[in-house]
């Protein structure tokens, strides 16, 4: 199923959306060709970059934009080859399976089509085809005398191609790279000429890994990107693994995504299939059926984990796909969330899931104490409710202040400087007792305030007033239970 031939398509500063993603906070993450020619390099500080190009167009790095663009390009590439993998460490780089195209015009035709497609996104895109990922990658990075943007490395030609490649193109540990540079070893060929034992003796596994790459020995292969209407998530591991831990690490977000997608459709998950794609071996499937449909990732994860722990595999795992086998409608009971006696976790979970799916992830919140200042509204906030359980409210105190958000303007009549009566929404409230003033001021660097607070008892209850010293206006901020 997997091809020995891979095509590498780099468009480092390729597509339009990603082009805006130039900087990550204070440092430049990616640069356009024009900026690069003017001396801007990835990793530069913004100050240094601006110093190099006065009118530099800086755009904030946006992972969502990048991900969207990658997905869009991936989808286009899948039309040309069934094996497409977006390189996670380098946006704008794809590994594409290139075997089995003999009847479709061969690799050259594929390269042409890929290049034509890529050049829609960036005119300087380059593609190369080779036996190994490393050779394909190097082939796209080398400057060819003919100036071609597509290059086909003949079968068995990887080692030869790599021989003259600069060592900077070979991925390796920085310390190893620096040591090799100090030794005058600057090309992959020079490193390949070192005896493997001597390399291992000095740099251990890391050295050997790099040494294998310069020899043209690269185990990496593109995987199949599944574009399907079925609820499924496919996750590729950076390297084949033989332990469960990295698989579980990737399983959690994948399940969360599935649960979220299902909830959006008003469904709870009843069964999933885990497909473990193995290195040079047939995929291994596991069915996980739940006793009760769920709209939370945690119980699903526990079941999947138990299933994975119980299986023995013939080879290392390269990728993991999770597909929803069975889904049922979510319970539609609304429930009274404010009624303390209402205690149906499953129903509440369903309600929360549907609220989140319909109104957005921030729709369900819980109260949280915080310290943003001395004002009463600075002392608490609404926070995201835990996605996998019912929020626990802070213990109620005997005297709680209910806040009005925003505060309501009122007219206040004073006597001897103290509030005597309040006119609020057309009604007059007589103040029988007033405690204050308490002076609170601050936040001058942001939205300054300067207030005098009064706790006022009225026949209709106790209200919290404040007098804004800057404007002279009065506001009701809340009432006391």
């Amino acid at each position: 199923m997997w091809s020995d031939d891979v095509t590498h398509l780099p468009g480092r500063d390729a597509w339009d959306d990603a082009h805006r993603a130039l900087s990550d906070g204070p440092r430049v993450r990616m640069v356009s060709s024009a900026a690069r020619m003017a001396g801007v390099e990835p990793g530069m500080t913004l100050t240094a970059a601006r110093a190099a190009v006065e009118d530099l167009d800086l755009r904030p790095w946006d992972d969502r934009v990048i991900a969207r663009a990658v997905t869009r390009v991936t989808a286009q590439l899948v039309a040309l080859s069934p094996q497409v993998t977006a390189a996670t460490s380098a946006p704008g780089v794809w590994w594409i399976g290139a075997s089995g195209f003999e009847k479709l015009g061969g690799e050259r035709t594929l390269l042409k089509r890929l290049l034509a497609l890529a050049q829609k996104y960036h005119p300087s895109s380059r593609v190369a085809s080779a036996d190994t990922c490393i050779a394909a990658h190097v082939a796209t990075m080398l400057r060819w005398p003919s100036g071609r943007s597509a290059h086909l490395v003949p079968p068995g030609g990887s080692a030869r191609l790599l021989r003259r490649a600069p060592l900077t193109l070979i991925p390796m540990d920085d310390e190893l790279r620096a040591a090799l540079s100090a030794l005058g070893i600057t090309t992959a060929g020079a490193m390949a000429a070192l005896p493997a034992g001597e390399v291992e003796r000095r740099w251990g596994d890391e050295g050997l890994r790099a040494w294998r790459l310069v020899q043209g020995q690269d185990d990496r292969r593109p995987v199949l990107a599944v574009i399907s209407a079925a609820a499924a998530v496919t996750v590729e591991l950076p390297d084949p693994v033989t332990s469960l831990e990295p698989v579980l690490f990737l399983l959690t977000p994948a399940l969360e995504r599935l649960v979220r997608d299902s909830a959006r459709k008003g469904e709870a998950i009843a069964a999933v299939v885990l497909t473990l794609m193995l290195d040079r071996a047939a995929p291994h499937e596991l069915l996980v059926a739940l006793a009760r449909p769920v709209a939370r990732a945690a119980p699903l994860f526990d079941q999947c984990r138990a299933a994975l722990e119980g299986c023995t595999l013939a080879a290392a795992v390269r990728a993991l796909a999770i597909t929803v086998r069975e889904a049922v409608p979510l319970p539609d009971e609304q429930g009274d969330l404010l009624r303390a006696t209402w205690r149906d976790p499953a129903a509440m979970e369903g309600v929360f899931a549907r609220l989140r799916a319909g109104l957005g992830i921030d729709a369900v919140v819980r109260p949280l104490l915080r310290d943003r200042g001395h004002r009463i509204e600075d002392r608490a906030a609404w926070a995201d409710a835990p996605a996998d359980g019912v929020a626990t409210a802070p213990p109620a105190t005997t005297a709680s202040t209910r806040l009005l958000t925003p505060p309501v303007p009122v007219a206040v009549r004073r006597r001897h400087g103290r509030p005597a009566a309040i006119r609020w929404e057309g009604r007059r409230w007589v103040v029988t007792h007033a405690i204050g003033p308490e002076h609170l001021a601050g936040a001058w660097w942001d939205q300054a305030f300067d207030r005098e607070y009064w706790h006022c008892d009225t026949p209709r209850g106790s209200v919290l007033l404040y007098h804004a010293r800057g404007t002279g206006r009065w506001w009701v901020e809340g009432w006391n239970d």
Binding site: G25, P26, R27, T45, L46, T47, R50, A51, E54, A179, A182, L183, G184, I185, A190, A193, L194, P195, E198, R201, R202, W203, G204, R370, D371, R372, G373, H374, D378, R379, I435, P437, E438, H439, L440, A441, G442, W444, W445, D446, D450, E452
Partner: protein, 1078 residues
């Protein structure tokens, strides 16, 4: 009514990061509000006491000294306000603060209740702020416990206690005040109102917020309720207090009554110096007289004249009348210790005006021979202690410092502190930090802050924002930089401006003064609190140098001077390797070969005269005698430069301008400087001679013109000077001209005595460099960091002078650079310390190993315990080369690194064969360029060739001459014209070199000076402001530069005035470091 209230609890900015106003502004505000008294109660701190006391005295305000002490009470840190009623109380307070600082970890001062109880005499206590033990217990509802705590305080303070109450408009305070009142009544002690002020004005609460955020290392937005809830902690009008406490005014009356009890003022204190141990029955004056008599015989022998005797009698008389004999004996003792220990030392500054100091061996200049004015050093009119500055070989100074501690005891000796205040950069960075900007944004804003005070920086940023152009402080193009930096930062600079301005002049942290020591007879901790310094084995007082004079504390400056270290080592090496015994006094004087070097400005590495500006002056001044060196040292100073005295002097010296005097009466004073006043003493002598000032008045004039000028004092003294000159028949216009001339340089120039002290070192260093160049180079390298030039430039210069320099080699090198027999005389072997980035641990290992010659193979070194980074650095620096004698030189470093990498990972197992890894067949040899690049990267210097030498072929093909060739062209032009004047037809040249120095002096109106170096020499480039602004980044950042410009020749002085610069991109020069914008 306005006198009904005195503030007894107030913090200044010396409550570091918790007080937002200077002591002076607190006093000013209190005076304006009509307070009779104000107490300064900083947190465990008396750092602002002198400034506060001085300001209060001048304002006629009762300045009460106190502190808010942190007391550890039942394992809880609580606050207690203490006020000094008497001298004894003040001493106790200082001791309590000292104990709180010395007995606790740095930054966490506190005393125990037992310690407090032992030092309460003379102190009045207030129960403190909400963090006080008593109010804190009340707030927790433990009223009975609070009453017990108050009763305990009442007992240990013998009823000198008041219950402190406050109102900052907060519920939690108002809730406990009634309980505090009840407690005061039940204990029968007063309750007193304070405002616990932390700033003078309400508007400064914002500064306090900023400081609080800095203290917590958080942004303002993250601080939450850790900031104070409002801005009520300011010095309030008594009427405000009266309004608040109108129901019961007892607390206000108590504030006045307590203030009246506290009668101690700082000026009542007169600490004395420790008694110098004297022979039985001999007084200090007598003993000093004996030493002077002996010293005079040693110094002058039979040459002693009546003038010498008269001077000594004059000085000794004044010393006796002022009671300073003990001080001179103490300084003499320190110098005697240094000499005994072989530590090179020399007095500098105005002490060299004293014949007594000369006879005691403290200074090396004969003030009688040089006709130096003693009153510049010591004056009866000044009522101040003398100030003697001693320079020691800087690597040995710590021994001297520890000797002083040991000799007088840590109870009586400590170093002076330095309050580090916010400057432009730090203010902008901290402002950006508390506002939550990124480090990069802060850096971008800070770039405009260089050289400015915090306030000026605020103005510069504000101007940029308002779109106004420079205020005179900005040089051409600077405004565009401000705006450019502003555009880089997406922030609200106006907030940054305001914060930066608010931080102006506030202390940020405390550091140790460069060398100031104070000694007292009484325990020093009863005079001023002492605290541990950041350096081990050092203690500092909480006062800085300007605080000492008002309280009569005497300071001795024990300074470190790198050149003395270099000279000391050079003299030792010469003695050891050549058997020639020299010292500073026996170096042959008047050697014309040495003066020839100086005339040629061949002075790289020579003390004081190696800078670009000095090198430009030397060929014009052409020094031929010692006094010329004195002039040379004094000439290139801000004073003479700003006073426009340099060129007139040089023109007169060259005979191009007639020597004239403002008035014939001034000829004797100004004759030796050709009618141009250069020294501070000359200014004073002019006042004495022309205006009839006494020596003391003349010194007052000098001080009035000093750094901290007061307009009122200046106006008064100007009038007096001009009046005096008019009385002596000098026309007013001439008098005004003379005044202007003196005024122009006054305190910014050197005293003649100081210049003379330095001139001794100039000559000594030039002499040793001329005759003992290898030893001198080794000594200079070992004394690093010091001086003007990098080790690379020093080495290049020495090699051009024929010194053989050998590379770092683990087989042959010691930690320091050493001497080896060379082909033609001694050769310098670079020390292992030359390799960059070797840490303290590496030094420890290598120093011992190299001394034992323990390194013969790579395995020896690897097994010594060095880490991988160090081993790699040594290999890349070529330190293993000696272990690969069979290899071609170009292969050795890589072979070494290959072997090191293998050996460093250890053997494969217990049965693995011993020995080094076989060398791989195909490690490429290093090219010369690679060798140079590696040398500069690892050591900052190269013996494999100057970076420019690798570009020579390319440069030659493009017609670019070497520096030597450019100088030759210049010299030919000069010879052709036959003058030592500027060639009327300046040639355009292109020169290229490694940038070894960049300067942009304040005095140069935006001109930038760059020194280029190649394998043949050095050349100065002058870059006009327009060129610099156009190519700012290129000029400021490129290690190798090519410059096209006009060749300017004036005698032996050659400069290129740049028109266009271009960076040269060459690997070999990438790691060279320039001495930039110091």
């Amino acid at each position: 009514m306005t006198h009904m209230y005195s503030e007894l609890h107030a913090h200044s900015c010396f409550s570091l990061l918790d007080g937002a106003s200077t002591p002076e502004s607190m006093v000013k505000r209190a005076e304006k509000l009509g307070y009779r008294a104000l107490a300064l109660t900083d947190h465990n701190e008396m750092g602002g006491a002198v400034r506060f006391a001085e300001a209060a005295r001048e304002a006629g305000l009762a300045g009460i000294l106190g502190a808010e002490l942190t007391v550890s009470w039942d394992d809880e840190l609580t606050h207690l306000t203490l006020l000094a009623e008497s001298r004894e109380g003040y001493g106790n307070l200082c001791q309590l603060i000292t104990k709180s600082r010395l007995g606790m970890p740095r930054g966490e001062p506190a005393v125990t209740l037992e310690t407090l109880a032992a030092h309460t005499r003379g102190l009045f206590a207030l129960t403190g702020c909400l963090r006080g033990r008593v109010p804190a217990l009340v707030a927790r509802g433990e009223e009975a416990a609070a009453r017990d705590a108050a009763a305990h305080l009442m007992e240990i303070f013998d009823r000198r206690l008041a219950i402190e109450c406050w109102d900052h408009g907060l519920e939690e305070e108002r809730a406990i005040v009634p309980a505090l009142h009840r407690m005061a009544r039940s204990l029968d002690v007063p309750w007193v109102v304070t405002n616990d002020a932390h700033y003078a004005l309400a508007s400064e609460s914002r500064t306090h917020d900023v400081l609080t955020a800095l203290r917590h290392e958080q942004t303002l937005g993250e601080m939450g309720s850790r900031l104070r809830p409002n801005g009520e902690w300011y010095l309030k009008h008594p009427a405000q207090h009266a309004r608040r406490w109108q129901q019961d005014t007892a607390g206000l009356r108590a504030s006045v009554e307590i203030a009246e009890r506290c009668t101690f003022r700082l000026e009542q204190m007169r600490p004395a110096l420790p008694d110098f141990p004297l022979p039985p029955g001999v007084a200090a004056d007598e003993y000093l007289g004996r030493l002077i008599a002996q010293g005079a015989r040693e110094r002058w022998g039979s040459q002693i004249t009546e003038a010498h005797r008269r001077q000594l009698v004059h000085e000794l008389g004044m010393i006796r009348r002022l009671g300073f004999a003990g001080y001179f004996l103490i300084v003499w003792d320190i110098v005697r210790f240094a000499r005994r220990e072989g530590i090179l030392c020399q007095g500098r500054g105005s002490a060299a005006n004293s014949a007594v100091c000369y006879c005691l061996g403290i200074t090396a200049i004969d003030p009688v021979a040089m006709e130096l004015l003693f009153e510049r050093f010591l004056s009866e009119d000044r009522h101040e202690a003398p100030d003697i500055d001693l320079d020691f070989a800087h690597q040995e100074r710590e021994r001297v410092i520890q000797y002083v501690y040991q000799r007088y005891g840590r109870e009586h000796a400590a170093m002076v502190c330095e309050q580090i205040t916010w400057r432009g950069r730090s203010a902008v960075r901290d402002a950006a930090r508390v506002l939550g900007y990124s480090t990069q944004q802060a850096d971008a804003l800070a770039e405009v802050a260089d050289r400015y005070s915090a306030r000026e920086t605020g103005k510069v940023l504000q101007d940029g924002q308002d779109g106004q152009d420079g205020r005179g402080t900005l040089v051409d193009g600077q405004q565009s930089t401000v705006n450019s930096q502003r555009s880089t930062v997406d922030c609200q600079p106006s907030t940054v401006d305001r914060i930066a301005t608010a931080l102006h002049d506030l202390p940020r942290h405390r550091s140790i003064h460069v060398g100031g020591f104070v000694l007292t007879r009484e325990p020093l901790s009863t005079v001023v609190p002492i605290e541990p310094a950041s350096m081990p084995d050092r203690t500092v007082i909480q006062w800085e140098k300007d605080d000492l004079d008002p309280v009569g504390l005497v300071k001795i400056d024990l300074l470190g001077l790198g050149m003395l270290t270099a000279l000391q080592e050079c003299l030792h090496t010469i003695r050891r390797t050549r058997g020639v015994s020299l010292d500073l006094a026996t170096i042959p004087h008047g050697d014309m070969a040495v003066y020839d070097d100086l005339c040629r400005a061949d002075t790289v590495g020579v003390f004081q005269v190696e800078s670009r500006a000095q090198m430009n002056t030397l060929p014009r001044l052409k020094p031929r005698c010692f006094y010329d060196l004195v002039v040379e040292v004094a000439l290139i100073r801000p004073g003479p430069i700003q006073g426009d005295m340099v060129h007139p002097y040089l023109r007169r010296r060259a005979g191009k301008e007639a020597v004239t005097y403002p008035h014939p009466a001034l000829e004797p004073i100004l004759k030796r400087t050709l009618g141009v006043p250069l020294f501070q003493e000359q200014g004073m002598q002019v006042a004495i001679t022309a205006a009839g000032f006494t020596p003391g008045e003349a010194d007052t004039l000098r001080r009035a013109m000093g750094h901290k000028r007061s307009h009122e004092r200046m106006a008064a003294i100007c009038e007096k000077l001009i009046e005096g000159m008019k009385r002596n028949g000098i026309p007013e216009a001439t008098a005004q001209k003379i005044f202007n001339q003196i005024n122009a340089f006054a305190d910014y120039g050197f005293p003649e005595s100081h210049a003379a002290s330095f001139a001794i070192l100039v000559y000594a260093s030039a002499y040793l460099r001329h005759y003992y160049a290898p030893e001198y180079l080794a000594a200079m390298l070992n004394a690093q960091p010091m001086g003007f030039y990098s080790p690379g430039t020093l080495t290049e210069d020495a090699r051009r002078h024929g010194v053989e320099v050998r590379g770092v080699d683990l087989v042959h090198s010691s930690w320091h650079s050493t001497m080896e027999p060379g082909a033609q005389g001694p050769a310098v072997r670079l020390g292992l310390r030359t390799v960059r980035g070797l840490g303290a641990r590496a030094r420890e290992i290598l120093e011992v190993g190299a001394a034992k010659h323990a390194y013969a193979t790579v395995t020896d070194v690897v097994h010594a315990g060095l880490d991988r980074r160090t081993l790699r650095a040594l290999a890349e620096a070529g330190a293993f080369d000696g272990m690969f004698p069979g290899e071609p030189a170009a292969n050795r470093r890589r072979s070494a690194l290959w072997a090191v990498l293998a050996a460093e990972r250890g053997a494969a197992g217990p049965l693995a064969p011993p020995g080094e890894s076989p060398r791989p067949a195909r490690l490429p040899p290093m090219s010369r360029v690679e060798l140079t690049e590696a040398d500069y990267r690892m050591t900052g210097l190269s013996l494999a060739g100057h970076p420019m030498s690798h570009l020579r072929d390319w440069l030659r093909r493009n017609g670019i001459p070497t520096v030597a060739e450019a100088l030759e062209v210049a010299s030919r032009g000069s010879r052709v014209t036959g003058h030592e004047t500027r060639d009327p037809r300046p040639a355009t040249v292109v020169v290229a070199g490694l940038v070894i120095c960049r300067q942009r002096p304040h005095t140069a109106k935006g001109f930038v000076f760059v020194t280029l170096e190649d394998e043949t020499g050095m050349l100065n480039v002058v870059i006009p402001p327009t060129v610099f602004e156009r190519q700012r980044l290129l000029i400021a950042g490129s290690p190798l530069l090519m410059v096209r410009g006009e060749l300017q020749v004036e005698g032996l002085v050659v400069n290129v005035k740049a028109e266009e610069c271009e960076a040269i991109d060459a690997e070999a020069g990438r790691h060279a470091k320039s001495h930039d914008f110091h």
